[in-house]
């Protein structure tokens, strides 16, 4: 952002903390940006003529006579079709020495859609992954995170989902992304020839954590541009929201706010909801779908970050390594897409809901059998079959490296049913059994 001629320059700080500086200034607007000692800052508090600014990259080395220049406006992103195919930092500055883009400057973190103007999400997103398409079908306008332990390949899965999703635009918001992962995303998108559909806003682990607070708003402002002005189907990928929340807690701790659970700020729910609720199906066909990553520590979903996320999003996808097959699967028990009801059996084949439920139920029988085994009880003949079924189900359907069409998933499920069970054991509506049971 360039400075303008009439801007007044201040050179006398009255206070410095780890995250903020304070000075005397007048006519300053709440949330406007400023440059403090060459670092970007935002107004967070005004009491009389005393203005407090939060410095995104921290206050280390800032002297009391630092130069402060106010911009007179809140953070903005220039939006236009030029965004497509571009990589930006958290402030919206182009990376790799690229030129600034031209466009209409829009405030980031703007207002939300009037709920009455929204449409019910109803368009299926196919990913080829049965753990998603078969068991937890995604819909445009949905918001859903992957809950994954840090060692799981969530970024790979997300990139795969994004490329297969047939979105008009894919917007990546990387927060605390390792440089390797960033380059991974860049390569995958490049190799897929999808660069013209991609926009990236990235804060890497090498950059100050607080900067990443801008990333989701930047990404979603770009998304809103394409979804509202161009009526496009936009997919927003946010990884990793746990690191975003960590940055929130850093700020609130430094500003001496009273922490609530797990030393997170009391406003965590609202802060996250403001981001996720940008997911929307618009009346003119445009949509914003958000797929995020929330990394867990030790699989604990009662921690404030996954817990609040669960209360906000429309389901969650659990990644887990199946000990039987050694493959990464989308866990059928703990994963849930709450919007799948809108499409399964309606936009997919009629037997979808019943096949999905039957398969998960039989998989649960296998899990019980496994527990029995572990507790030293004898297995029945049925238990043995259930265990074999579970192995095949995991390998042929749940594994995330399987890429097939939904109809093939359904056919595969029927084959496995027929191979291991009787019709009564599968207990699907007779009408469907007659039509689909393999002979």
């Amino acid at each position: 952002m360039e400075t303008k001629a009439f801007q007044r320059i201040y050179t006398q700080l009255t206070g410095i903390t780890k995250a903020t500086v304070t000075l005397k200034a007048q006519g300053i607007a709440n949330e406007e940006l400023a440059l403090v000692h060459g670092r970007l800052a935002q107004v967070v508090k005004i009491i009389g003529d005393s203005v407090t600014l939060q410095i995104f990259s921290g206050t280390e080395g800032i002297p009391t006579n630092a130069e402060v220049i106010f911009y007179g406006e809140p953070p903005k992103l220039k939006v236009s079709d030029d965004l497509a195919g571009r990589f930006f930092d958290a402030y919206g500055n182009p990376l790799f020495g690229a030129t600034e883009i031209e466009g209409d400057p829009r405030e980031i973190g703007g207002p939300s859609v009037n709920p009455l103007r929204r449409k019910q999400p109803s368009e299926l997103i196919a990913t080829g992954i049965a753990g998603i398409d078969l068991n937890n079908t995604l819909v445009t306008g949905q918001k859903i995170p992957f809950f994954a332990d840090p060692d799981q390949p969530y970024n790979q899965v997300m990139a795969m989902v994004a490329l297969r999703a047939q979105a008009d635009k894919i917007i990546l918001g990387g927060m605390g992304l390792s440089n390797d992962d960033f380059l991974f995303f860049k390569n995958v998108f490049e190799n897929a020839g999808a660069l013209d559909r991609i926009v990236c806003f990235v804060n890497t682990t090498e950059q100050p954590p607080v900067e990443r607070l801008l990333v989701p708003d930047m990404a979603l402002t770009a998304a809103e541009y394409f979804a509202t002005t161009k009526n496009e189907k936009v997919l927003v990928l946010l990884t990793d929201m746990t690191l975003y929340a960590d940055a929130l807690s850093i700020v609130s701790n430094r500003m001496d706010q009273i922490p609530s659970k797990d030393s997170m700020p009391g406003s965590l729910y609202s802060d996250l909801a403001k981001i996720y609720e940008k997911a929307v199906q618009l009346p003119d066909g445009g949509s914003i779908t958000i797929i995020a990553v929330t990394t867990l520590s030790g699989g604990d979903i009662t921690h404030a970050i996954p817990d609040n996320t669960g209360y906000i999003t429309e389901g969650q996808l659990f990644l887990r390594t199946d000990s039987d097959t050694g493959k990464v699967i989308v866990d059928p028990f703990r994963s849930l897409s709450r919007l799948k009801q809108q499409v399964i059996g309606k936009k997919t084949r009629e037997d979808h809901p019943q096949v999905m439920n039957a398969a998960v139920r039989l998989y649960a029988d296998a899990a019980n059998a496994k527990t029995k085994l572990e507790n030293g009880f004898d297995l029945t003949e049925y238990d043995e079959r259930a265990l074999k079924f579970a192995h095949d189900y995991s390998e042929k359907l749940l594994a995330i490296d399987v890429n097939i069409d939904t109809n093939v998933m359904l056919d595969t499920a029927w084959e496995l049913f027929a191979k291991y069970f009787s019709k009564t054991e599968v207990a699907i509506k007779n009408e469907l059994v007659q039509k689909y049971w393999p002979n």
Partner: protein, 584 residues
Amino acid sequence: MKTTGTVTGIVSNLVIVEINGPVAQNEICYINLSGVNLMAEVIKVIGKLAYVQVFESTRGLKVGMPVEFQGHMLEVMLGPGLLSKNYDGLQHDLAKMKGIFLQRGDYTDALDYDSEWEFTPLVEAGAQVTAADWLGEVPENWVNHKIMVPFVMTDKYTIKSVASKGTYKITDTIAVLTNSKGEEFNVTMVQKWPVKKAITAYREKPRPFKIMETGVRVIDTLNPIAEGGTGFIPGPFGCGKTVLQHALAKQADADMIIMAACGERANEVVEIFAEFPYLEDPRTGRKLMERTTIICNTSNMPVAAREASVYTAMTIGEYYRSMGLKVLLLADSTSRWAQALREMSNRLEELPGPDAFPMDLSAIIANFYARAGFVYLNNGSTGSVTFIGTVSPAGGNLKEPVTESTKKAARCFYALSQQRADSKRYPAIDPMDSYSKYLEYPEIQEFLNKNISAEWHDQVMKTKNIIQRGKEASEQINILGDDGVPLEYHDRYWKSEILDFVVLQQDAFDKIDCNTPLKRQRYMLGKVMDICDTSFKFDSFEQCSTYYKRIINVLKQMNYSDFQSEEFNNYEKELNTILNERKA
């Protein structure tokens, strides 16, 4: 003259205003941000400084901007036209707002000033009246919307004149009243009321003595909610709070439903917008939207207005109660409201209570729940507000301040269990942990026995006992193994499983199963309890489980069939055949 002031400080949505005159606690003011008015409420005053919480984003606000105080607290407009409306938390009509995005300060009218209403007077000149007495009525959808003496007019008045039958706009004078001093007051069809104050213009609030039918078996049969009663639904995310509330909104035996979407997902409200205009009220055949008003402050809407939204909803409920209607108020989720209180209390740097919630959280919640109730109006007719809120406990742990405070205030506790939700046993209401205090009221017991069946209350207690014993048996089986326990344990366990599958579990997405009228509940419970009272012969535990699974399957088919239809009767015959196979 209105008090004015200027902004002197801004901390997020807490704004400090230097004032030039008197202001009241909770008074409303507007901050003028370059021509856009931002609504705010006074929450603290120190000397010349008023601390106000702004119901909007304060981005761009500057020191020195002018503020105008309004001389009243946060109020709602009450009058014909509230039904079927979709409001934000401050009662602005969402339909009248421009554009796709919500704009700050786009404060639309709650009621329609141009629409005309067919007024019929209910009193004559000379009559003595006071607050909440009915002066006349206008048809609103299918409700006879009573035009009342405004709630603020608590003196005794004589009717000087009342408008004759005809069409009027809401702001037309429909009656002139005089007080004992001879002063005259013009009454229109619309009045205002501050949302944080309970409307108490009724004669008496007895203990609730009737139950409200909801069609949800695990509620009506096991832990019924009283008409005018209170209940709450705590549960971890994804366990079915919202689905359950939507079921109540669709099926409950109420004249009017108010849904406060308080800090939850916009898409869930969109579902209501999309479905309710088409779905039918099972009792009247009218469209559900005709009896519904939605107050919507979804999680992305301004946080401060969230707190207001539940009060707005309650006030509208009390208004319709004063007309002699049965109102059901649903709020999803009251935890979000409590969190809004927490955010503000932290900004005010108040001494925090447990989990950083404000110290007076319990009192605030208790106060709110106390506004529900069954009442006798001045003219002897009855009305009620039944309130059911959801609670979203952090980490699903019920030992947290909002759940604990609500437990003290609400009389029904419908605890959703993660375990039941995980095993898809919906609605996931835990049959053992949940309770309805109303079952202990002698007047409710009498009502149940009189209106459902003579021994109903005893039967319900017996049902609970079977479920309890079944649970104990299942624990033993898990510890000792299938073979390690007497066969009788399996029998006991499976009998409780019948109750679980046939009475407790209910498919909210099945056209027929979703709603079970009381008569049908009585029939099915009787059927299942008969089975529980019967002894069957088994040789092995496998035989036992296979047999009971067959029984469960047929009973479930009955649940999915129209009551006493041919299909239903056929399943019943099949059931009887199965039962005769093994009767001891």
